[in-house]
């Protein structure tokens, strides 16, 4: 196409640049206020390393574990009609909107020693509060809607006709799901997974109520900020953001590869 530079394109590029600038400017401001020496020092700080690892792994695991249930649910929401579906769809969006500390309080009630789940966990010697598992649950709660919505949109974009064609070829519904629906919705699901993963990593308000320790990076930043001020919190933020950026780029590239295979 030789339409690369049509008026519309120029307007779009202009608008896109504004958005990009809007995102980049604050980040750049943060980066420029941090000296390389500080960055290096922060990278070497064992507490920082540990917390970034913890954040990445808990969010990653919580994303993976909950995806196993959320993706099938998204499929149902895309394919089936049932009474009160609109209500269910509305409910699904709620965790996004709940004030984070309220979410934390709600989850605490859900997993604390007095709750059903808490008691079951205790009987096997597990206490969710102050435990990575509890952190993962808090992360999942606030971030699962992003996966659900993205996956649902993805599945809605898969023509039912192709699924039926696959059934006609003798494939079981399970096979059809894994070989047709899932791959065709893959792009959206990956987007959803990345959003869920990212959103989980950033959660502070809910996590800090469930578990101040072990410290995930947002809590660590808050803690350092409270104790020592911006100067000590900023380098951690920058390191964390850089690590995340690298992660996202890798994830997106992997996802792309998967698709073009």
């Amino acid at each position: 196409m030789k339409n690369n530079y049509s008026a519309l394109n120029l307007i779009f590029i202009f608008l896109g640049s504004i958005v990009l600038l809007f995102i980049v400017a604050p980040l750049l401001g943060m980066l420029l206020n941090t000296s390389p020496a500080e960055l290096i020092e922060t990278t070497k700080d064992e507490e920082v390393q540990k917390s970034i690892c913890l954040t990445l792994t808990t969010s990653f695991l919580s994303t993976i574990v909950f995806a196993i249930a959320a993706i099938p649910m998204a499929y149902l929401l895309a394919r089936k009609d049932f009474p009160m579906k609109q209500l269910v769809l509305g409910i699904i969006d709620l965790p996004i909107v709940i004030p984070h500390s309220a979410a934390g309080i709600a989850i605490l009630g859900f997993i604390s020693r007095d709750s059903v789940i808490g008691r079951i966990a205790e009987s096997v010697g597990l206490n969710f509060v102050g435990n990575p598992a509890g952190i993962a649950i808090a992360m999942a709660f606030v971030s699962i809607p992003f996966l659900l919505n993205a996956a649902r949109d993805g599945f809605m974009g898969v023509p039912e006709r192709l699924e039926k064609a696959a059934l006609n070829l003798g494939a079981s519904p399970t096979r059809v799901f894994f070989t047709i629906s899932l791959p065709l919705a893959w792009r959206n699901i990956v987007s959803g997974l990345i959003l869920m993963f990212a959103r989980g990593m950033s959660e502070f308000g809910a996590v800090v109520i469930v578990a101040y320790h072990p410290m995930i990076t947002p809590v660590l930043i808050y803690d350092r900020f409270g104790a020592f001020g911006l100067k000590y919190a900023r380098p951690i933020s920058v390191v964390f953001i850089i690590v995340c950026l690298v992660f996202f780029i890798i994830l997106r590239m992997l996802a792309k590869e998967k698709k073009t295979q």
Binding site: V129, G130, N131, Y212, F225, F228, G229
Partner: protein
């Protein structure tokens, strides 16, 4: 193995302004008791109490920036006693880029702050003790400097820069969004910020001026919306207690002992800008554990 809670884990909720000294104390304490793992959780003093009373979070030791928080919210349901252990003072904090920073001193600050192009921040009186103390300081200043109407003008100016916590204010200051903040001197010292030392008459530090402090009051919201509590000016005093249902009472005792010892904890406190009050008077003398009696006077 900080994942699963074990018996040797000691949970301490403390006021945000105690973060720095407590971290250092924890480090020293660790040397003495390597088997006890300290878990420090910083938050606003009242919020710390809420975590215990409303959220039923496990906690062994609670250290508040205002000993009354312990008296009002924790005693007697969650704690039996309260030890006042340190004091602090209010200061006006700024940095080198603050407007008029080269001119300001403790004779003209009340004029400079009222300048149109100067922005100052303070924390929310209803929420943060530092907030209502700021109002008290202003009222005292009005009297001390004989500036009629100063408090009123002050409270109306720059309301956009009221924040719930003093640490948020530091961020605003550090990123140059504002010029001055009302803050605890200890925090300013810990963050390496410049500050104006206010006269003892208005800085809420010196118990000798208690009577003068008590001449001003401020109304803040009470336990329910609509309810009003009137706060009297009084010296700033930090309190500490061990919770009744502390998971590890023994370790908690060891920590509080360490904290209150003159050459251990209190030395670190003083180094970080907070004067020791130990031993201090208490009205819960009877309930104070035997080992801690040495730090109080009846």
């Amino acid at each position: 193995n900080n994942g699963n809670r074990n018996n040797k884990e000691l949970i301490i909720f403390h006021a945000g302004s105690l973060s720095v000294p407590f971290k250092k104390i924890a480090k020293e304490f660790k040397k003495e008791h390597p088997d006890i793992y300290l878990v420090l959780e910083a938050d606003g003093s009242r919020k710390c109490a809420r975590k215990i009373t409303d959220l039923h979070r496990d906690c062994d030791v609670m250290a508040s920036a205002d000993y009354k928080v312990i008296d009002n919210l924790l005693i007697s349901e969650y704690a039996d006693w309260n030890i006042k252990f340190a004091s602090n003072e209010m200061a006006i904090v700024y940095h080198s880029k603050s407007r008029y920073s080269s001119k300001i001193d403790n004779h003209n600050w009340y004029e400079i702050l009222m300048n149109e192009d100067v922005v100052f921040g303070r924390s929310d009186p209803n929420y943060d003790p530092c907030g209502y103390r700021t109002v008290l300081v202003c009222k005292l200043a009005e009297k001390y400097y004989k500036q009629v109407g100063f408090t009123e003008n002050m409270l109306q100016k720059d309301v956009n820069y009221i924040r719930p916590k003093e640490v948020d204010l530091i961020a605003l200051l550090e990123c140059n969004a504002i010029d001055y903040i009302f803050l605890y001197r200890s925090v300013a010292e810990q963050h390496g910020l410049q500050f104006i030392v206010l006269p003892d008459s208005i800085n809420l530090n010196n118990p000798d001026f208690s009577d003068f402090y008590a001449t001003v009051t401020v109304d803040i919201t009470g336990k329910k919306p609509g309810e009003i509590i009137t706060k009297k000016g009084e010296p700033m005093i930090y309190g500490v207690t061990i919770l009744k249902n502390a998971p590890d009472n023994k370790a908690a005792m060891k920590f509080v002992e360490f904290l209150l010892s003159k050459e251990k904890g209190m030395a670190i406190m003083e180094k970080n800008g907070q004067q020791s009050l130990v031993p201090s008077p208490t009205n819960t003398y009877k309930k104070i554990p035997k080992d801690l009696k040495q730090f109080v006077i009846e």
